[in-house]
Symmetry: C2
Subunit: 427 residues, 2 copies
């Protein structure tokens, strides 16, 4: 009897141990995808409309597993380890994780497009899908001042691995506000045509610039998102992007990012800076102490040097535009009328706002995606990056270090380490 | 004592059972990739130089698991089920298999290119990688009549997910054979220049056509392979190719395939058919009974209608060119001198050989890859295929059913079912 009960207990214990062993082995085999998945969703589910608080939370969270992630990073890309370069930031490469299920940030792609842009946009979409989104499966919002055609919707839906959404732009956001003197605006367009200023005589281009400046981020379809990636027709993405750039932005506390920067054509913005200075006088409280005024002005704010981020590529936090500071700033510019009486672009408007209203460390230069929009290329000059990311671009074409680029200034004023050999790509 | 020994035995038995359970569960978790891997390698390892025997073996093997594979196919693509269309063939879609480790056929990509073709070829490579090879990781052989530059090798190696190999073409395969009267050849080029025949005055183009006809498949780098996919610079692949096209060719007993077919420019091949007819008279034994003469001749072989497969895209079995029939045929044509005294292209030469020396059912039309080489497009006209394969092409551009295309004839003579609505894309 005793022996029998011993046996029963013994059997139970051994079987339990064996099962624990099974469980252990099985969990190991799929552990690689459980970790990031939960960590991501936990921090994104804790997100609120307030960008800052989200960032801080994510940051403190991420500290905990820095070691693990640094290790992953080393494995995935040993070339990005030299300190104080834009690449020297926490990146979670998913390449090795076959069970990766897609991104979990509240983020979307957004494209302002007309039906006739379809086939040029398709090329851009395919490259974004190829290099990034086929893994991350983020949504794509399309905005148009006219209803999208069935062909446009079917074709783009077939290409995008996330959910596609099609929005109509409210008429009042794509027309002259009642305070604009349309005859004066017409005279300006005529003058600019004579001066042969690019898009100087275009009405729709002005509506586009105004919309990208003040309204796309207010569209109802954008409301559920916190980050966006702006994609235009006819662009190229040159390299694999094997990490979630939206998660990257949040975890590294970034609010705005760029690939190419250059000086604006002054003829298109004669009074933009004066208007901005008046705004700053009225609302000094919107400028944080460590803003990046020295990127856009070489004389402490007296004049604008024209440097701006080329906004046809933008990965940014929507909370930047939703902030009280920017909302007021856009209103101020819009009332001044420069979108119509001059030809203010959304690039200088976004860039000035990012430089003035953000702490400088919230602005990021992407040195590893590779980007083209006629006529400028961003191509990693580091051979190892080009090799590891399967880049399809000529380093000689890279605009980053050329004389006309503003990015060298960005590196200088932020004490960022330039990639070795940058001098060889300066001309 | 008895009880103790009982216990020991009992403990052993239970622990063994538990471990077996572990093993069972673990094997299940990775079973999905074990199956295809072994089945593929078993049939490819059994391959011999003789294409036919390999094909037959593969075919009989594959019969066994037709049901399983048909099921996979249904899941992956329900649009390709209508009988007797080129799409109605066994395809093993790998999309759902996250553990898929890459293709296991003895196959490679091959590109004949000059160093200055690099950046146009890069665009082709990226698209092939994006749509197919990033999953299958097949090798890529590059051939050149001059040594490849470091830039060429580094850039292409960075882009190709398989192994890249760089071959130099032996001088004697890229120059005038001793039996060619070079003065006569020069006179012809002069005449063709005056007649404005495309490439009519080019020497290198003639060497290229002769090389693609008679030598690329003999290059030492090609020796280890049984199938190849020819890729040229500046092409587009429009759709996802989520099945191993090389395995598809072997398992479906195909030896040659095409995406676009059209009539050749007669001025470039005045005596090609006459020479071919003489060859057929001398070697009737090389023509199988069910050859496809009716694709290339509308009068039972008296004249050539010019129809040829556009060979800038080719997925084919190397055993077709290595066969005694083709080797003798090329020799015969080469001796006749038409590569230099006229301007015989590798397209009509390959096409005539495939049509004459292969049973007709070994020639396959790819209706689901989507392909572009200036100026012709192949784009699936079936909306469902375009959607499922994420195609980025306009069905209206599809050349397949246009009046100038020879593919409708291919469908007619082989009793293939045309896709519904083909008439709408005929003009």
């Amino acid at each position: 009897m005793v022996a029998r009960s011993h046996t029963r207990i013994l059997r139970f214990v051994i079987f339990a141990l064996a099962l624990i062993l099974c469980g252990y082995i099985l969990s190991k085999s799929s552990g690689s995808n459980i970790l990031p998945a939960t960590s991501t969703s936990s921090s994104s589910s804790s997100s609120s409309k307030d960008g800052i608080s989200v960032d801080e939370k994510a940051k403190s969270e991420s500290k905990n597993d820095d070691a693990k992630e640094a290790l992953q990073q080393n494995k995935a890309d040993s070339s990005l380890q030299s300190p104080a370069t834009p690449g020297d930031l926490k990146k979670e490469f998913v390449g090795s994780n076959v069970n990766f299920q897609g991104g979990t940030e509240k983020a979307t792609f957004v494209s302002l497009a007309r039906n006739q842009d379809l086939w040029e946009l398709v090329k851009s979409i395919r490259q974004v899908e190829d290099r990034f989104n086929r893994k991350f499966k983020y949504d794509w919002v399309f905005l148009n001042d006219e209803p999208f055609s069935d062909e446009f919707k079917k074709t783009t839906t077939a290409l995008v691995s996330g959910t596609t959404k099609y929005g109509l732009i409210p008429k009042e956001q794509w027309s002259f506000p009642e305070w604009i003197d349309t005859e004066k605006a017409a005279r300006v367009r005529q003058e600019m045509r004579e001066k042969k200023i690019i898009y100087g005589d275009s009405i729709s281009y002005r509506h586009m610039c105004r919309y990208e400046s003040g309204f796309f981020w207010r569209h109802e379809l954008m409301m559920e998102y916190e980050y966006y990636w702006r994609v235009e027709p006819s662009i190229d993405i040159y390299c694999d992007i094997d990490y979630d750039v939206f998660k990257f932005m949040r975890e590294n506390n970034k609010a705005y990012s760029f690939t190419i920067s250059l000086p604006e054509y002054k003829e298109t913005i004669p009074t933009l800076w004066e208007t901005t200075r008046n705004f700053m006088k009225e609302y000094p409280q919107y400028l944080p102490e460590n803003n990046m005024m020295d990127f856009i002005s070489d004389d402490g704010g007296l004049t604008y040097n024209g440097c701006h981020f080329w906004s046809n590529f933008e990965i940014a936090s929507l909370s930047l535009w939703r902030s009280e500071a920017y909302t007021k700033y856009f209103e101020y510019l819009d009332k001044a009328g420069g979108f119509f009486y001059e030809r203010w672009g959304d690039a200088p408007v976004h860039s000035i706002a990012a430089a003035l209203f953000l702490p400088r460390d919230k602005i990021h230069f992407f040195d590893d995606v590779g980007y083209f929009h006629v006529p400028f290329h961003n191509c990693p000059i580091d051979q190892q990056i080009r090799q590891e990311r399967h880049c399809m671009c000529k380093a000689q074409d890279d605009f980053t270090w050329k004389g006309y680029s503003c990015t060298p200034k960005f590196f200088t004023i932020n004490n960022l380490k330039r990639p070795s050999g940058w001098e060889n790509y300066a001309n």
